[in-house]
Symmetry: C2
Subunit: 185 residues, 2 copies
Amino acid sequence: MGTRSHLISTANALLVEEGVGAVTLRGIAKAAGVSHGAPLRHFSGRAELLSAVAVLGYRRLLERREQLPDGTARERLTAACHGYLDFALGNPAMFELMFRRDLIDPGDPELVAVSSAVFDFFAELVAAVQTPDWHPGTDPRLLATSLWAALHGLAQLWLWGGLAGASFAPSAEVALAVTLDAYLG
Amino acid sequence: MGTRSHLISTANALLVEEGVGAVTLRGIAKAAGVSHGAPLRHFSGRAELLSAVAVLGYRRLLERREQLPDGTARERLTAACHGYLDFALGNPAMFELMFRRDLIDPGDPELVAVSSAVFDFFAELVAAVQTPDWHPGTDPRLLATSLWAALHGLAQLWLWGGLAGASFAPSAEVALAVTLDAYLG
DNA sequence: CCCATAGGTAGACAGCGTCTACAAATCTTT
DNA sequence: AAAGATTTGTAGACGCTGTCTACCTATGGG
């Protein structure tokens, strides 16, 4: 259990408990019980440490792959969509960090590897659903991009506080059902 | 031309030219040619100033309403969807600010007023498209939420840098076409 | 004319990321 | 085993941030 991994898991805990605003380099160092300069011995800067934390998030997202039900391709895809939204709403701070380009290093090799693994898996799910009835001839990755964006927007909007002023406040599940109906209905 | 509005427009210019990271209270003050403490005479803090800037963004988004073509309800809705994406990709820094809850005050009265005006208008467009053929009986605001989220996710994903590692890089227009096809096709 | 109030300035404070100088500990090599 | 080299941790500094306070200066109403 080196200091490096200790810092990552401490940062992860701090992120979950206190939110994105709390994962400061000095704060992480203090929580980990080391001096404020210690993290820079293991990471080139804040972005590199937070990128490592974000990788944990992507990995947890990817692990949901194993929990998908055995069923038709459609069922598996809708389950994955629910899973994405569940992950976002259940881990708001992590989800925010994962898409905050100013906090992480978008070019981090591990990060692009695991994030594109997530996308690739999602695209496979979409491709499996594709039939002559449903969007034939369209690149499944393009379909996956569109659908993923829809899910992502849903998550983002809900984390953002729903439709702020409006007295209209549907549950995320209901909105997701409408979205899935548009794509798969 | 009071100092207050001068600060807002200076911040807006700084935002456009230098990005979200540059709209710091002291930076704005310096760019406006006042002392670093002056902004606090007109705003309770950074969030209030930036909220006023974000209001400008929502207003510009709302102004696009006048530029919608006269045509069928469907045409007007698809034009609005293109407009949303155009706005996001054409004003990335402003778009980011508008949805950064940690930088603005989500409860700012002017902000919730203008942002819900945007949503209400979009919901009207959706409602106009609704027919017995297309999602009959569904609350148009729910449909609007789902569709808006899809657009929003598209914008966010593209600003985020597309699909980072993937060699697969469709244009935003193509992805939007797929999304619109799913909802309206 | 005087005085209350609003608006602007300058300084201070704590916190931030990052850099550097230094000390301690660990590993390598002879 | 001894000695040198490299890694790892510490402490302080610098310039930046947002915010607070004390002060000064206009301006406008009685």
